[in-house]
């Protein structure tokens, strides 16, 4: 589950991780009020307005139909009003959103961190994530902050440092110091960095994060170390022990059909193709998508109906897939083990009848326990459903359906 920047920063503050302060708002008036408050506190006329969407590249991205960037510096109240009007309710298109962009419902009015002071400012990069190979959490960091880190990793891999953390233990003092030294810090900023990374690691573990990225990690002109941006995604499996965090989910950021599928406990991912599919098991579901492609179609979705492929789940699956007008055929691929195929077949027939007429070809491939009986049920149902037992037969039927 992904969080917004403003939500992530609130969480970090609970772990005593300093952040660029700001106020999240959803109206222009509230933005103006937030600006006044921040100006009062900082004595600085400058503020930063940041669109809150679940995608990166906001600073370079533009609001559809205008030249307004998704992150902009405001120099005055009038400026705040203008930028907030431009961004709120607009659709932000960035390199990560795709051409459709994402609607902006909230903006973060944040303090300007480039205020003048005795020392130069610096931008770093730091992220914490799971290293699947070693089975440990790893802190990745670089002196090259504020940039696309994948580019840095590709062009100058020697500028990326990694610190692996012993499972079950906190980040050790020597590790935190090593990070601060490698970032070239000394004096007050060194001490602040040690505290920052120690607390940040506690936050990562404390909220059961799947990934926590601070880019840029910022040294201010008065040697504070703060998180200017924060990308945080949580481990969905761990939400069972974080009811408060589960409430932070913003469904408006997700595909509406995926949200609906979730309400039926269906594991659904919307894709762009013309053949829908309904499968039991995640691996077989992916394999079925691959087979659709090899048969000349393009998968329209991933859908794992799990172990209970009954009439209700099949019907919900049908309805969700049929919402997409691009879908030219639907392939149901069930390998019956514990689930008996004849029961699934009956579920398909009942669901089909309950929906009424379905105007596109339905191909049902049932294999495993009672597969023959299931095929008979489908074939004798009088419905325009094509049946198959072997995967290769199903592939041929898909090919016919998409080339028709």
């Amino acid at each position: 589950m992904n969080l917004h920047e403003y939500q992530a920063k609130e969480l970090l503050k609970k772990y005593n991780v300093p952040v660029q302060e700001g106020i999240a708002v959803d109206t222009v008036m509230a933005a103006e009020e937030a600006y006044r408050q921040i100006k009062n506190e900082t004595g600085n006329n400058f503020a930063v307005i940041k669109a809150q969407i679940h995608a990166g590249g906001r600073g370079k991205g533009k609001i559809e139909g205008s030249e307004q960037r998704g992150v902009a510096v405001a120099k005055s109240l009038e400026n705040v009003t203008e930028i907030a009007k431009n961004i709120l309710g607009g659709t932000l298109v960035t390199i990560q959103t795709g051409a459709a962009g994402k609607k902006v419902n909230k903006i973060l009015v944040a303090q300007d961190v480039y205020y003048p002071g005795p020392n130069p400012v610096k931008e770093f990069y730091l992220s914490i994530l799971l290293d699947r190979t070693s089975g440990k959490n790893v802190i990745m960091y670089s002196t090259e902050g504020g940039m696309d880190i994948e580019e840095v990793a590709h062009n100058t891999p020697e500028k990326i440092f990694k610190e692996f953390v012993q499972p079950g233990a906190p980040l050790q003092g020597f590790q935190a110091r090593k990070i601060a030294f490698n970032l070239g810090l000394s004096g007050e900023s060194f001490k602040n960095c040690v505290k920052f990374v120690t607390n940040l690691y506690n936050a990562y573990v404390g909220v059961d994060a799947a990934m926590l990225e601070i880019n840029p990690l910022f040294k201010t002109s008065d040697d504070k170390i703060i998180a200017v941006d924060c990308k945080l995604s949580l481990d969905d499996n761990a939400l069972i022990r974080h009811a408060d965090l589960a409430n932070l989910r913003d469904e408006s950021e997700e595909d509406p059909t995926e949200v609906e599928a979730g309400h039926y406990n269906l594991n659904f991912v919307k894709l762009d193709g013309n053949v829908g599919c309904m499968v039991n098991g995640a691996g077989l579901a992916m394999a079925t998508m691959d087979m659709i492609k090899l048969s000349g179609g393009e998968p329209a979705n991933f859908l794992d109906v799990g172990g209970s492929a009954n009439a209700q789940t099949v019907e919900a699956g049908f309805r969700i897939i049929l919402k997409d007008p691009k879908v030219k055929a639907i392939l149901i691929n069930i390998f019956g083990g514990i689930v008996r195929c004849d029961r699934v077949a009956q579920g398909v027939i009942d669901a089909y009848k309950s929906i009424g007429e379905i105007k596109i070809p339905i191909i049902v491939r049932l294999q495993g326990t009672n597969a023959e009986e299931a095929k008979k049920l489908i074939d004798e149902s009088g419905l325009t459903v094509q049946s198959a037992i072997l995967l290769s037969e199903a592939a041929e039927l898909v090919n016919k359906a998409v080339s028709a």
Partner: protein, 292 residues
């Protein structure tokens, strides 16, 4: 011969009296697996399915000599169940539970390193040695006895492969469902290595998914050490990057963990890679006959 489990394996069920535990324990007993008891804290001393219930794994091991445990404990408590089994000296722990928080598995993986316990899973269908012993949730009848080993991250895709292998006139020694989570106890390479060293196994089906580097690691090991034909398939050729496809571990993170990248490395290492899951059985039969 076979690997991991056989007719002499003494199995206990953690989460014995729950719905899942009861259903699958019954199925395992029917298959012929020696289920010697189960663990449900607080119900020690009672019996279930005509087998004794124990409060702790340690008690169960002491009383029954169990050397294998299968776990059906809910996700919030499953990591603890694995640790308890390892602490009690169980040699093989098979964790079926899906949805364990990944930080729990980080700790478990670190804890069991250096113990004599091997963990299979979590989020897996279990292990079956055809005709002898089923410690898992797979439909036993699909796994005909024979000489092909299967290593797979996916449950139903394992059944698909076993079924195709049977239709090609072959059968299974042991099928190992290693699980679809980002952190699992036994890696693809380790499972392949077990089967490669098993004299009864003449060929290996290796089924992977997008995400992580385990298939590439296994492929490189096979290139150096392989003595039997390996047929490989990677699910998720059409999966978009950055999206989790059902399994917690099935997510493309970079250029190296796409299906295409994995299939390329596997081919380079001499594995018979199939693009379609429909070709697994046929390709294995051809590879064994020396036609590939």
């Amino acid at each position: 011969m076979s690997v991991l489990v056989n007719k002499n394996s003494k199995v206990i069920v953690q989460g014995f009296t729950g719905t899942e535990g009861t259903f699958h324990a019954t199925q395992m007993i029917e298959y012929g697996t020696q289920v010697v008891g189960g663990v449900t804290p607080g119900k020690g001393g009672q019996t279930h399915l005509d087998r004794p219930i124990f409060n702790t794994v340690a008690d169960a091991v002491k009383a029954t000599g169990a050397n294998v445990s299968i776990i059906f404990v809910p996700p919030a408590f499953a990591a603890d169940a694995v640790l308890e089994a390892a602490d009690a000296g169980i040699e093989l722990v098979i964790c079926i539970t899906e949805g364990i928080p990944v930080q729990d598995m980080v700790k478990v993986k670190s804890f069991i390193k250096g113990t004599k316990t091997r963990l299979i899973g979590p989020n897996c269908p279990g292990v079956i040695t055809a005709g002898e012993c089923k410690v898992g949730i797979m439909p036993g009848f699909i796994f005909k006895q024979g000489n092909i080993g299967i290593v797979s991250k996916s449950g139903t895709l394992t059944y698909e492969a076993a079924d195709q292998v049977a239709k090609a006139g072959l059968g299974i020694t042991t099928a190992i469902g290693i699980g679809g989570d980002p952190i699992i106890g036994t890696t693809t390479k380790e499972a392949v290595e077990l089967l490669m060293n098993d004299p009864e196994t003449h060929g290996i089906v290796m089924i992977g998914e997008i995400g992580g580097g385990m298939e590439a690691e296994a492929a490189r090991w096979i290139k150096e050490n392989g003595t039997k034909p390996v047929v490989g398939f990677i699910a998720g050729q059409t999966a978009p990057p950055g999206r989790r496809m059902g399994h917690a571990g099935a997510i493309v993170g970079g250029a190296d963990d796409t299906a295409a990248a994995k299939m390329k490395i596997m081919s380079e290492c001499g594995i018979h890679v199939v693009a379609s899951p429909a070709d697994i059985g046929k390709t294995m039969a051809e590879a064994l006959a020396g036609k590939k």
